[in-house]
């Protein structure tokens, strides 16, 4: 085993940070999209990620026998989870949020409802699983490439590539399709959209579908990568992804991607730094983020809101 010189440590931690950041980015995207379109901080989003992991676990359990628990089985489970949880996102929007939006309810009510949805989701899963951790077993091994003492497994590479692909697809969707155009338009001015004949409610539902599907994808990948899932796993990642979305500029899609990566990199850097270590890494990370926000309150890529009187 080669000794880990500073150069190799930096490379390995960069890789670690990139992978961690990918998960944060995928979940942060959902936060940003929903906020951008209806100005709601969807606290239930972290739990959508968790539900996605469990649906993927269930799907793998059902189809694993036929398709095996290698990449084919995982991909099928991923797709199933994305679709089903995307639909769940639509249901939540129609049942919990849209009625309040229709009545021009105060922002606080929407926020509380989101908290309620979050509690409902993870408590339901807790009861159904008796609070137990479920082992997400796949047949993936630890083969990978080694550059000196730096190890990168094929699984990690595929995760990062998959995340990048999903984000590229989202970018294409938002910027090159009519649906995406509608979403961006609604984020600017809802009433004008209605005047232009855009079905605002349907488009918002679509936003929830896409955001939830992405979170579900992250959930399944986390299950595959880390190997265990539990009803409470959405809490921490929801909190961090939300922070990442704000750092990158809430409402901005590239911002969410950037925010997630920055957060992941800061965390891994914090663990390695002397005087910080894993005990203080969160203090370190969030301290820097506070400074970032103080200097640029709307986030790195955020746009300042101009209120037209």
């Amino acid at each position: 085993m080669h000794a880990m010189t500073v150069f190799y440590i930096i490379i390995q931690q960069l890789v670690n940070g990139l992978i961690l950041g990918s998960f944060y980015s995928l979940v942060a995207l959902g936060y940003s999209m929903v906020y951008g379109i209806i100005k709601l901080l969807n606290f239930a989003h972290g739990d959508i990620y968790m539900v996605g992991a469990f649906v993927g676990f269930g799907a793998l359990g059902i189809f694993g026998g036929a398709l095996g628990i290698g990449w084919l089985g995982i991909t099928v489970a991923l797709v199933i989870s994305m679709v089903l949880v995307g639909l769940l996102g639509i249901v939540i929007h129609r049942v919990a949020y849209q009625p309040l939006l229709n009545k021009n309810a105060p922002r606080m009510s929407l926020l509380i409802t989101a908290v309620g949805v979050s509690f409902t989701l993870f408590n339901a899963v807790m009861v159904m699983t008796s609070g137990e951790y479920k082992a997400f077993t796949t047949s993936l091994g630890y083969d990978g490439i080694s550059v000196g003492p730096v190890n990168i497994t094929y699984t990690q590479i595929i995760m990062v590539v998959a995340t990048a692909v999903l984000m590229l697809c989202l970018y294409w969707f938002i910027n090159r399709t009519m649906y995406g155009k509608a979403m961006r338009a609604i984020a600017l001015d809802q009433d004008a959209c209605r005047l232009m004949g855009i079905n605002v409610t349907k488009t918002i539902s679509l936003t929830f579908f896409v955001g939830s599907a992405l979170a579900a994808a992250a959930g399944v990948m986390a299950g595959v990568y880390y190997g265990s899932i539990q009803f409470y796993m959405g809490f921490i990642i929801g909190l961090k992804a939300f922070t990442a979305a704000v750092i990158g500029g809430i409402g901005s899609i590239p911002g969410a991607m950037l925010g997630g990566l920055i957060l992941g990199l800061l965390e891994t850097a914090g663990t390695q730094l002397p005087f910080v270590g894993s005990a203080w890494k969160d203090v370190f990370t969030f301290g820097i983020l506070i400074l970032l926000l103080v200097t640029k309150p709307t986030g790195i890529l955020g746009k300042s809101e101009i209120e037209r009187m």
């Binding site: 085993m1 000794a3 880990m4 440590i9 390995q12 931690q13 670690n16 940070g17 992978i19 961690l20 998960f23 009545k103 309810a105 105060p106 009510s109 509380i112 409802t113 908290v115 309620g116 509690f119 409902t120 993870f122 408590n123 807790m126 009861v127 008796s130 609070g131 137990e132 951790y133 082992a135 077993t137 630890y142 080694s146 003492p149 190890n151 497994t153 986390a222 880390y226 190997g227 265990s228 539990q230 009803f231 409470y232 796993m233 809490f235 921490i236 965390e267 891994t268 850097a269 914090g270 663990t271 390695q272 270590g277 894993s278 005990a279 890494k281 969160d282």
Partner: protein, 390 residues
């Protein structure tokens, strides 16, 4: 105006209901200060001797709680079948502490208000420590069966007896094991809670006192799944042994990621991780991991009968703390008989005077600080997907 007010009121009440029911039944969530009548389950009739059982019945440690409750109930049934104590039958009241200090306090108050005369149980040290004075105020003897943080020993108001090996005993065993494995640079990883932090700090002190090096002492967050940066950090510090002092769910992930990251040294885990689920969740990466364990039934020659009876009754093998849980009730029954009453102070005195009580896990005699005179920790290793006694 009133319609808007009514709808806001309805939303508030609805969300409040959701939050309260959520807080009342969940595990390690950011819980508030709710206490629910659903937290205690009692089997008592009037005239029975009520024993309170504070255990994690929900949350990440629920499997331990249920296992201990099973063993306790089995012991209670056996005592009752032999005629009970001083003519009265034993009955149990379970209080769910969910391994959370706030819920534990609420459950403790509930148990006390139900009129229990003794307390047996306690798995998570973090959930036990805040309840010690609550029980002591009513002079309730508290037999702690699994929680072993030295915080409990230090803050013992006089009514608490620990029949599990404490962190002091476990530290001794750990240092012994590290020496045997020829480790030079040890890295310790804990989770900041009463149990893991205590074990980590004591092990660090003891290892350093023996003239060795602790290359890093890290604290991870419970529930966070990504240890990759920690793994890299440990590798960069050339640790040849990693000692994980917290629980099995995150421990399994750490083990997986250590091996995935190419770590070749030894891995030792404390008794909070000594669970078959560790093997299941760590998978192939778990091979060769050393586990410090409380005396588990399958490795105790005296416990064969107990293990068979447990298997017959509950359709599963007894868990790691079942023998101790079983011993706790029998020890309490023995103390009550010796005291000739269920009066708290008398029973506490009788417990203090316990000498060589024959438990499944070994003979119980209490040292002056009300912990075991002799340690009962054992060392296991994961070989071929099974725990093997070392």
């Amino acid at each position: 105006m009133s319609k808007k007010f009514l709808s806001m009121l309805a939303v508030t009440i609805l969300s409040f209901t959701v939050i309260v029911t959520g807080c009342g039944t969940q595990g390690s969530a950011p819980s508030g200060t709710s206490s629910n009548s659903s937290d205690t389950q009692s089997t008592a009739g009037s005239g029975d001797i009520k024993i309170g059982l504070p255990l994690p019945m929900t949350g990440s440690e629920a499997t331990y709680g249920k296992d201990m409750e099973n063993a306790i109930k089995m012991a209670v049934d056996e005592v009752n079948a032999k005629g009970g104590i001083n003519g009265k039958k034993l009955a149990t009241v379970t209080g769910d502490d969910a391994c959370d200090p706030q819920q534990a306090t609420a459950a403790a108050n509930k148990l006390v208000s139900e009129g229990v005369v003794a307390i047996v149980g306690g798995y998570c040290s973090g959930a036990v420590v805040p309840t010690l004075t609550i029980y002591n105020e009513k002079n309730l003897p508290f037999i702690v069966e699994a929680a072993n943080s030295s915080k409990i020993t230090d803050q013992n108001p006089g009514n608490t007896f620990q029949i599990n090996g404490t962190a002091v005993h476990q530290t001794q065993k750990a240092v012994e094991l590290f020496k045997k494995l020829g480790a030079k640079n040890v890295a310790i990883v804990e989770q900041g809670d009463a149990y893991s932090s205590d074990l980590a700090k004591q092990t660090e002190a003891a290892w350093k006192a023996a003239g060795n090096t602790v290359v890093s002492h890290d604290v991870t967050t419970k529930g966070e799944q990504d240890f990759s940066s920690l793994v890299t950090s440990l590798k960069s510090k050339n640790a040849d042994l990693v000692f994980w002092t917290a629980y099995y769910a995150d421990g399994a992930l750490l083990i997986k990621q250590l091996r995935q990251g190419g770590y070749k040294g030894s891995i030792v885990v404390g008794d909070g991780s000594s669970d078959p689920k560790l093997i299941q969740m760590a998978g192939a990466a778990g091979e060769g991991t050393y586990v410090l364990s409380p005396p588990v039934a399958e490795f105790l020659p005296s416990a064969k009968q107990f293990a068979d009876a447990y298997k017959a009754k509950f359709n599963q093998t007894p868990g790691a703390y079942a023998p101790l849980a079983y011993d706790g009730i029998n020890l309490l029954a023995d103390a009550m008989k010796r005291a000739g009453s269920t009066d708290g102070k008398a029973v506490i005195k009788a417990l203090t005077e316990t000498k060589d009580f024959p438990g499944l896990a070994g003979k119980v005699t209490f040292a002056p600080n009300k912990t075991l005179q002799e340690s009962n920790f054992i060392v296991l290793q994961i070989k071929n997907g099974q725990f093997v006694l070392q």
